[in-house]
């Protein structure tokens, strides 16, 4: 099964109307363990591995940033955790609960692991508050009134007060991204899966978004799995940075970032930060060269 792109594919993954959610909403910590995961596309001679024997831990309540060359398979991994995508072998756990593994190669998508997408996926036909209240309404956890109340509180906390009745098309892209993160938090997820959420933003907006994200994390203890291309962003946000190899993707190096939180932008110029950056840059550059060479060979 591929990532759901059409109604058929989405419907196949969705629970039937009226069926209960399979996902337990038990408040647990949200540690992810990725164990020897391989994902192969196609079969036989034309098979291509996107992810191969990939093993690492995403500690609960921390930010793990994932960097690596374009197309290396980071998103494949995220899709497997989210349940949009099957794996070929290996296992993925969420708090010792198996998400996918032998016998069930595709995890069930659910509100305990909410995804925030690269280009944003706020529903354009719903107002900000309708978007934010969407998750709890779908799961039948809150009444409309309760959901709206909670949505108003969370929006106000995120500094988005007064936008409730605007459509996403009427607010700036930075605000849209923040609304989307609030929408994800409404589901009380154990894990937030972010796929280059700030890619399209200018660097000024980006820096505001980083601080807002760190503040949110302080208020809501949850685990963040954050894919990015931006190395400074990866180090600035992460408790740990996982540097991926080029295709097939597996961790090349895992860097624990020993910088205190709350972090602010003055850190970017410190010696320690520069050292982390050099170390990351070197590893990533090596992989980028390999990726480039592989691309040349294919041609």
């Amino acid at each position: 099964m591929n990532v759901p792109r059409t109604w058929d594919e989405a419907a196949a993954l969705a629970r039937p109307a009226g069926a209960p959610l399979a996902v337990s909403q038990a408040q647990r910590k949200g540690a992810i363990r990725i164990l020897d995961v391989t994902k192969t596309y196609g079969s036989g001679a034309t098979a291509v591995s996107a992810v191969e024997n990939c093993t690492f831990d995403v500690p609960a309540g921390e930010i793990t940033t994932v960097v690596g060359p374009s197309g290396c398979g980071k998103t494949t991994l995220l899709n497997a955790i989210a349940g949009f995508h099957s794996i070929t072998s290996g296992k993925i756990f969420l708090d010792d609960e198996i998400l996918c593994g032998p016998g069930q190669l595709q995890a069930e998508p659910g509100p305990d692991r909410v995804v925030v997408f690269q280009n944003g996926a706020l529903f354009p036909w719903k107002t900000v508050i309708e978007n934010v209240a969407f998750g709890p309404r779908m799961q039948g956890r809150l009444s409309k009134k309760q959901a709206y109340e909670k949505a108003r509180t969370l929006l106000a906390d995120a500094g988005l007060h007064g936008l409730e009745n605007n459509y996403p098309g009427e607010i700036s892209s930075g605000m849209r991204r923040r609304v989307e993160i609030v929408r994800a938090l409404m589901n009380e997820p154990r894990v937030l899966l972010l796929d280059e959420p700030y890619r399209a933003l200018d660097s000024l907006t980006k820096s505001v978004m980083h601080e807002a994200l760190l503040q949110l994390l302080e208020k809501n203890r949850l685990t963040i799995f954050f894919i990015t291309h931006d190395l400074e962003e990866a180090i600035f946000l992460g408790h740990q940075v996982v540097i991926m190899t080029t295709r097939p993707c597996r961790p090349k190096k895992i860097l624990t970032i020993d910088l205190p939180y709350p972090r602010d932008y003055s850190m970017l110029t410190t010696r320690r930060f520069r050292d982390y950056l050099d170390e990351t840059l070197e590893a990533v550059h090596e992989e980028a060269l390999k990726a480039f060479a592989a691309g040349e060979k294919e041609r």
């Binding site: 990532v3 759901p4 792109r5 059409t6 109604w7 058929d8 594919e9 989405a10 419907a11 993954l13 969705a14 629970r15 039937p16 109307a17 009226g18 069926a19 959610l21 996902v23 989210a82 349940g83 949009f84 998508p109 659910g110 509100p111 692991r113 909410v114 995804v115 997408f117 280009n119 944003g120 996926a121 529903f123 354009p124 036909w125 719903k126 969407f134 998750g135 779908m138 799961q139 459509y167 996403p168 098309g169 009427e170 929408r183 589901n187």
Partner: protein, 279 residues
Amino acid sequence: MISNAARTVGAIFASAKFWRGAFSIVLFIVLWEVGSRSEAWFGIAVPGVSRVPPPSAVAATFSELVRDPNYWSSWYLSTQRVFVGFIAAMLVGIPLGLAMAVSRIFYGISFPVFEVLRPIPPLAWVPASIIFWPTQEMSISFVTFLGAFFTIVINVLGGAQAIDARYYQAALSMGSSRWDIFRRIILPGTLPSIVVGATLGIGLAWAVVVAAEMISGGGSAGSLGSKGGGLGFFIWNSYVGGSYTQIIAGMISIGIAGYVSSALLRQGGKMLTPWLHEE
């Protein structure tokens, strides 16, 4: 309320857009008048235009027509046929387009047939539909239906297929059921295309009804106890009777009818899709 309405009217008269539109219409009428009278006035005939009755003569005919109940019954008949055909096309076309978009199996079965039937011009259906439908009224409405139907289906299908996959994924991620995805993603996501399809569809319905009325002939409609054959027959009848100003009056009537229906649908569509229009 009154001051609001007055302000709205005031705003219309103050807008450059209104005056540009008014100017273009007036200019068109003036050029037409001059063109069609140029032979009498300047001794130079403008090819084609000189044979067309001038707008002043058409206006005179109009002022007679508005007092003629037969003219209004032509309006009534055509409007009725357009709406019967159009509403039927919406009722059948929207579910069909959605069904083709959501079910690969249904798409596989129905799309080839649909694509073979689609290029057949609605007017080519006129003889067959006169044979198959018991009354002339039904056959004209059916041809009108066809005019709108294919456009509506194609728009709905295209709109539903173009919904971004991220929306499905986000909805799944937040625990939506199948029905939720259909109701909250597919339907609103397709709505703008439904509006476009409807606006195009009603224009085509007007184009088709007039031609269908001309071909099928209002004469037999009259013999069935009907008061006239609709605007299409009105034009044809004016041609047969040699009243050129009435031909033009009939044409302008259809233009107005088509414009008003499309404008109403566009306005209705705006209300249904508020997220596309607000600034």
